[in-house]
């Protein structure tokens, strides 16, 4: 085998569409800063307490037409900063397009899950299985907005797992950590118990990341594992190792144009655009590692 030789290649110039995405993102960031500055100037209270939700300002003079808002305290985020700038992923993050997703922002994914009654337990479970809680949170945000809902066929729950996948994963998780057995809702009823399904979903992420590691992919990210589950073991690795400017059609070598179209992939869609569409929904959790190291 020859020694690895390189030709110097400058970063590819962004496409015009990517430039638009970048521009949109910057606009979104500036808008976010603007909101933060306004809030900071007018409220004069700490934006977030380390142990809970933002402090509510209690008006002593009511303003006509303004609804009364009540913030229900959720679980304090034990991973402050986990979704923040300390991203540990090394994978193919592409960022946010800043216009299509409802969950764009540094800690939205984890915060969304922690805003549920079961989120805190799910975080602990994920960590006990060696899974980054932000990766688990990103999964429920993408699948259901972290709502415990039904789905088509046997798909159900906050993580929208099929009955067969759920059963296989919950069994594997309990085999890996027998102490979990006493905490789960047995049978398929567990699929609609978010705490129980979160265990199965954590195992699912764990196995996906480990499969990618077996394919030589160091430190799989949330985006990498998403590609693995959306496009299979071969396609997942192909996307994880592809330059963002390649089209999905060229990278997913085994897919026909018809199958790609059925999966919502247009002929000109690039890997970077697909990654951006996922990132737009989960923020920078997309580039974080799936596995706790």
């Amino acid at each position: 085998m020859p020694p690895i030789a390189f030709e110097t290649q400058p970063p590819s110039s962004p496409s015009s569409k990517w430039s638009r995405v970048t521009h949109s993102f910057m606009v979104m960031c500036l808008a976010t800063l603007g909101l933060k500055l306004v809030n900071g100037a007018s409220a004069q209270v700490p934006a977030v307490l380390s142990g809970g939700p933002p402090v509510q300002v209690v008006p002593y003079v009511s303003e006509p037409g303004v609804p009364s808002l009540t913030i229900t305290p959720g679980t304090a985020n034990p991973f402050a900063g986990a979704d923040g700038s300390g991203s540990t992923g090394t994978g193919s993050s592409a960022g946010s397009s800043g216009g299509t997703g409802g969950n764009v922002g540094d800690s939205d994914a984890l915060s969304t899950m922690l805003g549920t009654t079961w989120g805190g337990t799910a975080v602990s479970t994920a960590a006990s299985l060696g899974v980054n809680p932000s990766a688990l949170a990103a999964t429920c945000v993408l699948e259901s907005g972290c709502q415990n809902i039904g789905g088509s066929g046997t798909v159900a729950g906050a993580f929208q797992m099929t009955a067969s996948t759920y059963t296989a994963m919950i069994n594997a998780a309990v085999a890996q950590n027998p102490s979990l057995a006493s905490t789960i809702v047995p049978g398929l009823a567990g699929q609609m118990d978010p705490t129980t399904e979160s265990i199965a979903a954590s195992e699912y992420l764990l196995q996906g990341a480990q499969y990618l590691q077996n394919q030589g992919i160091t430190d799989p990210t949330v985006l990498d594992v998403r590609g693995y589950y959306n496009f299979g073991p071969q396609g997942g690795a192909q996307i994880a190792n592809a330059s963002p400017n390649q089209t999905m059609a060229s990278v997913l070598t085994g897919y026909s144009a018809a199958t790609l179209a059925a999966n919502g992939i247009t002929p000109s869609e690039t890997v970077g655009q697909w990654q951006a569409s996922v990132s737009a929904k989960i923020g920078n959790a997309a580039s974080q590692s799936v596995l706790n190291s």
Binding site: L33, G216, T218, G235, A242, Q246, S250, T253, N284
Partner: protein
């Protein structure tokens, strides 16, 4: 004037802070002396997934399995099989071996005119881009 500068700096700081979620990967270097091939049994999103294709630490029959091949594999441009196995480059840079019967020349079903070029990506992975 000062206000304008402050605003400019604030905007710049914000853009930089938002950049944490915008770490676009790019082709860092082209790998010369290598070419793309792919697994002979491709999965196209339907039907049963083909069995995983093992990769080994060496060409000899008793070499240990060290992993599984992805859909696209990177091999030396002029490499010859050794004991029925071809050396290939794993995404993490490790040199491993794959049964030559399991790989075929690279081509894309949905985009037959596309090309594949082995590269080193900016995230440190050995992967591909579509250079022609």
């Amino acid at each position: 004037m000062v206000t304008r500068k402050v605003n400019l700096l604030a905007g710049l700081a914000l853009i930089l802070s938002c950049g944490s979620a915008f770490a676009q990967v790019y082709t860092k270097q082209i790998l010369t002396g290598y070419k793309c091939m792919m697994l002979a049994q491709q999965w196209g999103g339907q039907g049963p997934v083909p069995p995983p294709v093992p990769v080994y630490s060496g060409p000899h029959p008793n070499a240990e399995q060290v992993g599984i091949a992805g859909g696209t594999v990177i091999v030396p441009s002029t490499g010859e099989p050794n004991d029925g196995r071809m050396e290939m480059l794993f995404p993490n840079g490790r040199k491993v071996w794959i049964d030559v019967a399991n790989i075929v020349p690279w081509h894309s079903k949905a985009d037959p005119t596309s090309m594949c070029r082995p590269v080193l990506l900016s995230n440190g992975r050995y992967g591909t881009d579509g250079g022609r």
